[in-house]
């Protein structure tokens, strides 16, 4: 029985459990629900939960564990001689899986009987052609050990699935029966249901931790794989980035770091002064009418997806900058040869960050108590003197935190740099040259045709790890500063 059907069957059992539990509770008190400890529905829920939750938990664990177990056992069937590296092994394994799927499909379409599929051998049948007929394309002829492994794979999967169906359904029935037996007028069904609900709430809240764990684990495992193939010192201190899918790549992160840093710097140089002054103007000077118009307009900038900024950089800003700074540009400087450049990406990213900086600064400036302003104005200071000498210094830690958060945004931004910064990894000071960033390279290394086991693809995980660690550090530090700052005025 496929997992979906088991799931539905368990659901049906749970609903049945609800009805039975409710009826049984009511029957025990002759329909007078006042004699029950809890409302009748709670007895129903109690039975339903017992039918549902243990069975589904086992099903979920089974779904994860069974393929892992079968993989390991099938893997051991493949002789060491047929692969040299782990990468090749994983290719062989994916062949095995594909052949097994193909056989399933062939049986389903009636091209093979169940027995034939289990006893097929490469000598007697052209398995590749057979599978091709049912629409499963195999790259090369099927090796005998692959077919054997595939058959073993199918056999153990079939047994596993059978066991799964039986155990899960039995568990659901057992849960139902047990809960039904416990149903009694003085049974505290409500408390029991609420405990289960609380467990559910805790589980939902813990997903945040699971997500972080998932991120960290998937980065760490693949990064370790990468460092097995490529020395860590060359990755962190190499000054050349030249991946070649034929092997012999140089994968130094420094040029990518430099590009990331340079672009973020330009972005902040645009966003911080504009965002900060805009926040100051809107919160301290602008009349209600101006504020009502200008504030939402700036917020619109924040709601625009990054892909739009990417296209803006690529099609509008890049060529515009070339027209000014390019070889035949208005200034005749000849600094810029193509539209994609550090300046293009930095400028557009800066625009994107303006509302981010301004809304954070706005919050922070507003949390400086009015009494502070009154004190300064009462002494005869002008508004700008008050702002420059009292409000901004008081808000400084918060503003530093906001700038750090913006920096972390800039470092992690992907679409703008993929489309606006160029693809060449370069250590150069000229902001009108194309450079590339950590995020842009993560995309290009993982969207190419590289095999996941090659260092050229795995390097993306090491890049991701670096990016994650840096942005996490910045975020934690920034949030800490901002929180400390808030507490000061609470």
């Amino acid at each position: 029985m496929p997992a979906l059907w088991i799931f539905i069957a368990v659901l049906v059992l749970a609903v049945l459990g609800f009805v039975l539990g409710r009826q049984r509770a009511l029957a025990m008190v002759d329909g007078d629900s006042r004699h029950l400890h809890s409302l009748p529905n709670y007895y129903g829920f109690h039975v339903g939960i017992w039918a549902l939750v243990p069975a589904l938990l086992v099903l979920a664990v089974w779904l994860i564990v069974q393929p892992m177990l079968i993989d390991t056992s099938v893997q051991s069937m493949i002789p060491d001689t047929s692969y040299a590296t782990d990468g090749e092994l994983s290719l062989v394994m994916s062949d095995v899986r594909r052949v097994a799927d193909g056989l399933d499909l062939a049986v389903e379409r009636g091209a093979l009987t169940v027995e034939e599929a289990a006893t097929l051998d490469t000598g007697a049948t052209d398995v590749r052609a057979l599978l091709g007929n049912v629409g499963v394309a195999i790259g090369s002829d099927v090796q005998p050990e692959v077919l054997e492994a595939a058959q073993a794979y199918r056999a153990s999967t079939a047994t596993g699935n059978m066991a799964r169906t039986v155990i899960v359904l039995l568990l659901a029935l057992a849960g139902l029966g047990w809960a039904l037996r416990r149903t009694a007028p003085n049974f505290r069904a409500r408390n029991s249901v609420e405990k289960a609900t609380l467990g559910l709430l805790i589980a939902a809240a813990s997903i945040a931790i699971l997500t972080t764990l998932g991120i960290v684990l998937s980065l760490i495992f693949n990064t370790i794989e990468f460092f097995k193939l490529y020395p860590a010192s060359e990755f962190f201190f190499g000054t050349t980035w030249a991946p070649s899918f034929g092997g012999g790549s140089e994968l130094g992160i420094l040029p990518l770091f430099w590009g990331t840093f340079y672009i973020s710097l330009i972005a902040l140089a645009v966003a911080v002064p504009i965002g900060l002054f805009a926040a100051v103007y809107l919160s301290e000077y602008a009349g209600p009418k101006v504020r009502a118009v200008a504030k939402p307009m700036l917020e619109v900038l924040a709601g625009i997806p990054t892909i739009v900024y990417g296209l803006f950089a690529l099609v509008t800003v890049g060529p515009m900058l070339v027209n000014v700074f390019g070889n035949e540009g208005a200034l005749g400087l000849g600094w810029m040869s193509g539209g994609t450049a550090v300046m293009t990406a930095g400028l557009v990213m800066g625009i994107m960050l303006i509302p981010f900086v301004s809304s954070l600064s706005d919050d922070i400036i507003n949390s400086v108590p009015q009494a502070m302003r009154d004190g300064s104005l009462g002494l005869g200071a002008t508004k700008s003197e008050t702002l420059k000498q009292v409000v901004l210094p008081a808000a400084l830690p918060g503003i530093v935190g906001a700038v750090l958060l913006a920096a972390s945004r800039a470092i992690g931004e992907t679409m703008i740099v993929v489309m606006g910064a160029g693809a060449a990894a370069r250590l150069s000071l000229n902001p009108f040259e194309a450079m590339t960033t950590v995020t842009a390279k993560i995309v290009s290394q993982l969207t190419g045709d590289a095999d996941f086991a090659s260092p050229e693809a795995l390097v993306a995980f090491a890049l991701g790890m670096t990016l994650f660690v840096i942005t996490l550090g910045l975020n934690i530090f920034a949030l800490y500063i901002v929180r400390k700052y808030r507490e000061q005025y609470e």
């Binding site: 997903i207 965002g275 100051v280 900038l301 296209l311 700008s384 702002l387 489309m419 990016l467």
Partner: protein
């Protein structure tokens, strides 16, 4: 009265000279500094607004042409001897004639069209004329014939898509000079185009296929549409909504109402606020490693995209949901507890319904954010894939490869043909219309149900 000001101040403090009615030099200087500062602020707001306008103008100017397309109306004779030799009008038999068999009909029709209208034929080979129409034109004729075999033997008016260069010429993107370096079309074609345009048989009209159609291969920008990827986005959003709303609400209720103050709770809180600031590309890596490499879910599937976007938007939704729960005053909880409800009952019967508008607003905004997100989708294979077919069922909608609106836009922007830039901008207009609608709904919801306690 004025003598008060000329009296020397007590204890020798300096006499305030001058009246309040005139500014002294220092005040003037300070006021100038004040005006300057204010001007900087205005300039900053102005620059922000100018950027916004520049962006919007850029989007509208570049994107609006994508919604119209140039069509040529040509009468085409459909000869029986070529299309259905058997004469039985059985579509299965007629299917044997491929699009290559239809191409000469187009050539003949175009030549006839020129002759009838007295337009000079500049080319030696009639097939050269076919460059003016989309390479999908033959397939279009074939599909029409297969759908309606009785048309054979007649001359039928077809409204054919013009090729992207002709379309570009009609929109002012392609000029005779630019064609000098272009092998796809010659300047002579444009002379014909001009004359056909005067005759009224070559016209730009609104192109529904751009909104509802499917993507096309790199060489046929005139045919590409956003429809299929829109469906992909829809399925992703269903996944996001179905998962993130209940999980987000459950997590928020726990953290806001039940969580004891301990390490575990602190850990969850720190995790949520940090996840909200993790770069979206990292969620793409997570999706690739966990859902595709580990769990062997299909690449490019909206289900995987939805899962990744769920994890990405969950922190945002939790943060806004907690804010709306916090806004429900404690007196409501106390009132429920006071009549003997359990804590769980007070939350689910009273607090949650009151917080619902706020939660929905936050969820819609979270969905809008997810709808526009591109980077993580790149890593799970939603780019480079040509979304040419509508999914044929709900299960296929979730599991078979598809694109999503922003991924499709990125894909178009990557293709070198400038005609695809226009489509990318057009796609952005559609995407922004969706985002705007969602934001407006959120704002209306907030206005309608906003409650001051």
């Amino acid at each position: 009265m004025t003598d008060a000001t000329v009296q020397p101040g007590a204890e020798g403090r300096p006499v305030k000279s001058g009246s309040l009615l005139e500014q002294d030099a220092r005040t003037k200087r300070r006021n100038a500094a004040e005006a300057r500062f204010k001007f900087y602020g205005m300039a900053a707001v102005g620059i922000g607004v100018i950027f916004l306008i520049l962006l919007l103008v850029s989007i509208v100017r570049n994107g609006v042409p994508a919604f119209t397309q140039t069509f040529v109306t040509v009468p085409i004779y459909l000869p029986e001897d070529k299309l259905d030799k058997s004469g039985v009008r059985d579509p299965d038999v007629m299917r044997k004639v491929t699009t290559f068999g239809y191409a000469p009909l187009l050539d003949d029709a175009l030549v006839t069209k020129l002759e009838d209208n007295g337009i000079e034929m500049p080319f030696a080979k009639p097939s050269k004329l076919r460059d003016m129409v989309s390479s999908s034109a033959a397939a279009q004729v074939r599909d029409t014939v297969l759908a309606n075999p009785d048309l054979i033997g007649q001359t039928v008016d077809f409204k054919l898509l013009a090729s992207s260069r002709v379309d570009g010429y009609m929109k002012g993107r392609v000029t005779r000079e630019s064609l000098a370096r272009d092998k796809n079309l010659d300047a002579e074609h444009l002379d014909i185009v001009d004359q056909l345009h005067e005759l009224g048989t070559l016209e730009r009209s609104f192109n529904w296929a751009f909104i509802f159609g499917s993507d096309a291969s790199e060489s046929r920008p005139e045919q590409a549409g956003l429809g299929v990827s829109m469906v992909g986005s829809l399925f992703m959003m269903i996944v996001v909504l179905v998962l993130s709303l209940p999980i987000g609400v459950a997590a928020s209720i726990y953290l806001e109402e039940f969580a004891p103050k301990n390490r575990w709770t602190d850990l969850i809180e720190v995790n949520i606020s940090n996840l909200a600031a993790v770069p979206s590309i990292v969620f793409g890596i997570l999706g690739l490693a966990v859902f595709i490499q580990f769990a062997h879910l299909p690449m490019s599937a909206p289900l995987v995209g939805g899962l990744v976007l769920t994890l990405m938007t969950l922190p945002t939704i939790i943060i806004s949901t907690r804010a709306s729960l916090k806004a429900v005053p404690p007196s409501i909880r106390d009132a429920a507890l006071g009549v003997g409800a359990s804590k769980m009952q007070s939350v689910f019967h009273h607090v949650l319904p009151l917080a619902m508008p706020g939660i929905l607003t936050g969820t819609i905004l979270g969905l809008a954010q997810a709808l526009g997100e591109t980077a993580p989708l790149l890593l799970i294979g939603m780019v480079g894939f040509i979304a040419s077919n509508m999914p044929d069922g709900v299960a296929a909608g979730f599991l078979s490869p598809n694109s999503a609106m922003p991924a499709q836009i990125y894909e178009w922007a990557k293709r070198a043909d400038p005609a695809y830039y226009e489509r990318a901008w057009g796609g952005i207009i559609i995407l922004l219309v969706f985002l705007m609608t969602m934001n407006i709904i959120a704002i209306l919801l907030r206005r309608r149900f906003e409650r001051r306690w």
